[in-house]
């Protein structure tokens, strides 16, 4: 073992000391490709340097840039005494260069407080959907031509283009090394291994320089690209790989897909999207779309996260396959409505040809396949915290500090409009904060963590001569998520009803009750309970929800991102809502001090939706879904018994189709029995395979926090009559 094999990225990076940052990173990638130890497991069929970068002490990470992993470094020092001096020299250089360290130095104290009190947080990174469709189609030869062409146009950006060329070379190098290794292993291999090694060597003779000739080659090239620097979202999988699937032998292509699925499962592969239409309404699904659902049913893995796009021309058979897949209880696919998402994206200025290339980056955040850097981790605001600020003149009830605006003594709000206005000002204040902070973070990432590899994989960067992080991608919109919106709406509506409409309580008495955490306020709690709640098709709370949603979504869209777009909003609370609640005082919806929030994305709060799923869907639909350019998730949970019969399945299919026809954006459906969940909580060992859908992803039930397990158990389970 020499230092180049042990820490190839750092060695390459350090050797290019005097160059620009992006060039040094590219040198790191090339050195990584040249020296990282490679192995081939013929039983996996496809090869790629899975996780090799992650295992280095000095590495490049998609999310955080250049990292020096101190634990790893110490472990390497112990394991390789002969390389200590070399490792120490690398540490000296990398420690100072570490992107998170640089960025953390620039963080303000305000940022720390806002995050600690769970009012809002902001960042500037995220997932992306690399454009392997184009790379497969033109090969690295074609990409090199593109780079050279544009380097002749942007003559002042030579280092940038040189960096990109180094990355292309790196990919080819690693492919060539795999080919040589396969040929070497072939000499002693026998049986099936021999056949696979032969196929692999032959495939690597063609890819990645040229377009794949069949699905096996396409999978190999895909996996090589996908694992080269980091694992991310496969995006429009059937759109990108469907053509190779069509021309390959049926049994062989399914075997390839099966092997690829095993690889997905072993890595944290994010979001894989199927279906959808083009801008003319033509359905894009193909044999691969159906087989993705088939293999998901067979394997029942929790990764990748599968999304299915639907539109009016989605074939019934694909719908049927999706419902059958949901019936297995894996919580996938999540279903997105083209007719809602595409207009929302078009309103941001994205033309229909590109809006119809949307897919998910990571969990639920909407991205344009291979053409965008639309954030994901841009920021999040607690709408419930904004209400707390309005009720306590800007003072956070978790920390006792004034973090919000001074909107005045709440006892002076003699009309609901005054209270509502104070609330919206607090919301705006949080949105101002989060967008400004995110933009600072985006700029820091651009300055300290350029990603030349991703600049090849996302369209716009080569053409503009700009890095992926530095306004290179065609689309650079942002995404802000809301937390606790339904809780805030129910709280506002309780105040409106009890204080301002019926006069049963004064605002002062209500706030006093919040201050004593409803101690001895059973009568008030009973009144609160009796107030109509969002999610039951009651116009009062539903329209209030619509108005607040509308305000937040429109206000955020007036803000520009550093990346050259605008901030969109979505609501997908994941497992975080509970934690946001623990940093809030008592709320007017009856939530106790520091108790978890109830909100489940845009759906009604669990336990308060008493009128069934049609009513819940109607409530949700009163808010304008066409403004949500990030995922606006609605989760429904049904018991297994309901899905058991064809008639039952058909009812749910109809429910989903109607929701989309009426303009709904996203549905996530869990099929699981309540007894099963309760039993899983008591006897986790008996339910190792139980997967539930949590916000943005499917997760093993046993791995969830107890709070969240309770929340899932309580969540909308529609019982039979």
């Amino acid at each position: 073992m020499n230092i180049q094999e042990l820490e190839p990225f750092a060695c390459g990076y350090a050797a290019a000391e005097s160059h620009d940052l992006e060039y040094k990173i590219a040198c790191g990638f090339r050195s990584f490709a040249e020296h990282i130890p490679l192995t081939i497991d013929p039983s996996a069929w496809f090869v790629g340097p899975v996780g090799s970068m992650d295992r280095l002490a000095f590495r490049y990470e998609r999310a955080s840039g250049i990292r020096a992993d101190e634990n790893r470094y110490r472990a390497e020092r112990e394991a390789h005494p002969e390389l200590r001096a070399a490792l120490d020299r690398l540490m000296d250089r990398f420690f100072a260069l570490e992107t998170p360290r640089i960025i953390s130095k620039i963080r303000s104290p305000e940022q720390e407080t806002m995050e600690r009190c769970k009012a809002a947080w902001a960042a500037g990174g995220g997932h992306s959907n690399p454009d392997y469709e184009l790379l497969l189609r033109v090969g690295t030869n074609g990409v090199r031509e593109r780079i050279e062409l544009f380097s002749r146009i942007h003559t002042d950006r030579q280092t940038f283009y040189d960096s990109l060329l180094l990355c292309v070379e790196a990919l080819e190098t690693i492919a060539d090394r795999y080919k040589a290794l396969a040929l070497a292993m072939l000499k002693t291999a026998e049986g099936e291994d021999k056949a696979i090694l032969g196929r692999l060597a032959s495939a690597l003779d063609n890819v990645p320089r040229h377009q794949p000739r069949d699905f096996f080659e396409a999978c190999e090239m895909f996996w090589l690209i996908f694992t080269f620097a980091d694992i991310d979202s496969p995006g429009l999988f059937d759109y990108a790989l469907g053509r190779y699937y069509e021309i390959s032998d049926e049994a062989d292509r399914y075997a390839c897909l099966s092997k690829l699925w095993e690889l997905f499962h072993q890595t944290r592969t994010w979001n894989l999207c199927i279906g959808g239409s083009d801008e003319f309404g033509n359905d894009r699904s193909c044999a691969l779309s159906y087989d993705v659902l088939k293999i998901a049913r067979e394997k029942k893995y929790n990764t990748p996260n599968i999304t299915m796009r639907v539109h009016p021309n989605t074939p019934d058979a694909l719908w049927q396959a999706a419902v059958e897949t949901l019936a297995t209880g894996i919580g996938m696919p999540a279903i997105y409505n083209d007719e809602c998402v595409c207009p929302a994206l078009e309103a941001l200025g994205i033309p229909p040809s590109d809006s119809h290339l949307y897919c998910m980056n990571g969990c639920n955040q909407i991205d344009i396949f291979g053409k965008s850097h639309m954030g994901l981790e841009d920021g999040e605001i607690s709408v419930a915290k904004a209400l707390e600020f309005a009720l306590f003149n800007g003072v956070c009830q978790y920390s006792g500090e004034r973090l919000g605006l001074e909107t005045g003594d709440p006892t002076g709000f003699d009309t609901f409009e005054k209270l509502y206005d104070a609330f919206l000002r607090q919301v705006d204040y949080l949105l101002d904060y989060v967008t400004e902070t995110s933009n600072k973070a985006q700029a820091l990432f651009a300055a300290y963590a350029p990603n030349p590899w991703k600049s090849i994989m996302i369209q716009g960067c080569i053409e503009k001569g700009l890095d992926y992080k530095n306004r290179g991608p065609i689309y650079g919109h942002g995404q802000i998520l809301t937390e606790g919106l339904p809780d805030a709406v129910d709280s506002l509506y309780a105040l409106k009803t009890l204080v301002y409409d019926t006069g049963k309580v004064t605002i002062g008495d209500f706030i006093a009750a919040l201050n004593r955490d409803f101690e001895g306020d059973e009568a008030l709690l009973a009144e609160i309970k009796a107030v109509e709640k969002y999610g039951n098709d009651c116009d009062g709370p539903d329209r209030l929800n619509a108005a607040v949603t509308d305000h937040i979504y429109r206000y955020a869209q007036t803000k520009e991102t550093f990346r050259g777009g605008r901030f969109g909003v979505g609501c997908s609370t994941f497992e975080r809502a509970a934690n946001y609640g623990r940093h809030l005082g008592a709320l007017p919806n009856g939530k106790k001090k520091f108790a978890p929030l109830l909100a489940d994305s845009i759906g009604p709060t669990p336990g308060n939706d008493k009128t069934g799923p049609t009513a819940a869907l109607n409530s949700v639909l009163k808010a304008n879904q066409y403004l949500a350019t990030s995922g606006n998730v609605l989760q429904l949970k049904f018991s297994k018994s309901q899905f058991a019969t064809p008639a039952g399945m058909n009812a749910y299919l109809t429910l989903a189709k109607t929701y989309f026809r009426l303009g709904g954006q996203t549905l996530q459906i869990n099929v699981v029995s309540k007894e099963e969940l309760l039993d899983a909580k008591r006897h986790p060992e008996r339910h190792e395979n139980l997967i539930v859908r949590v916000g943005g992803f499917s997760e093993y039930f046993n791995r969830l926090e107890p709070d969240l397990q309770d929340n899932i158990i309580a969540r909308t389970e529609v019982e039979l009559s």
């Binding site: 059973e522 009973a526 009796a530 098709d537 009128t611 069934g612 799923p613 049609t614 009513a615 109607n618 309901q642 058991a644 019969t645 008639a647 039952g648 058909n650 009812a651 109809t654 429910l655 189709k657 109607t658 026809r661 009426l662 529609v718 039979l720 009559s721």
Partner: protein, 281 residues
Amino acid sequence: MNGTIFDIQRFSLHDGAGIRTTVFFKGCPLRCRWCHNPESQSFAPERMIYFDKCVSCGKCREICANAFDAACAACGKCVKVCAGAARRIAGRTAAVDEIIETVVRDKAFYETSGGGLTLSGGEPLAQPEFCLALLKAAKEANIHTAIETCGFAKPEIIEAVLPFTDLFLFDIKGIDGETHIRNTGVSNDLILANAKRLMDSKANVLFRMPYIPNYNDHEIGAVRAFTEGFPLEVMPYHAIASGKYKALQRPFATAAVTPPSQEEIQRLAEEFGMIYSPSGI
């Protein structure tokens, strides 16, 4: 026009085709010993107490001397003070307009699924004017209508609702008159005559037979013969209603009956050419 109902259930999947809204009428002329909606029998509102939820806070006693007695006027005051949310009042007056306003909200779901409005109960035909007004209003709104009925109504009432009812879900609980009186408290002469009338009228009818071991199970062949030429669905006995009887402080006559197995019902359904969907009554 007002009537008494005890529930409106949206996203109802088992009272006719598609996604439906079911309105449960309060009051029934029959007293079936296995009745799974005991709160539907009386025409007046009733108090229900779910004793397992009672936290013994004593607030109900403070405000009402009859908090646990049969002499309850169902005023509902105890429901509001109950700390354990253990009490509710089954039954309320509702206007046709109010109900239809709720029903039309799910019209898009009915259209996509082939569903609509179902009147159930209790016995919808026991509040004939209210029932007819609801049916007419639904038809005006272009919504599919179904009635779940025991068939115990004057023939002229059946004639009146016929033009506004797209589907009758008609219960036949037995053919033998003596057994019927013993099981339900009324003679089945009127019921069977009304059934015949509907069969002759070419109305869209789905007959349903509750299948209660030891009570009417021996009549399955007779019921099939009587409904010849029309679809017949078998509804096996279940004991889910026992909690409601406790809450109403009334005995559940068939509590000791063992629910038949799915396999047994499946076999009977095949033997007699009956429809069976394993969701129960």
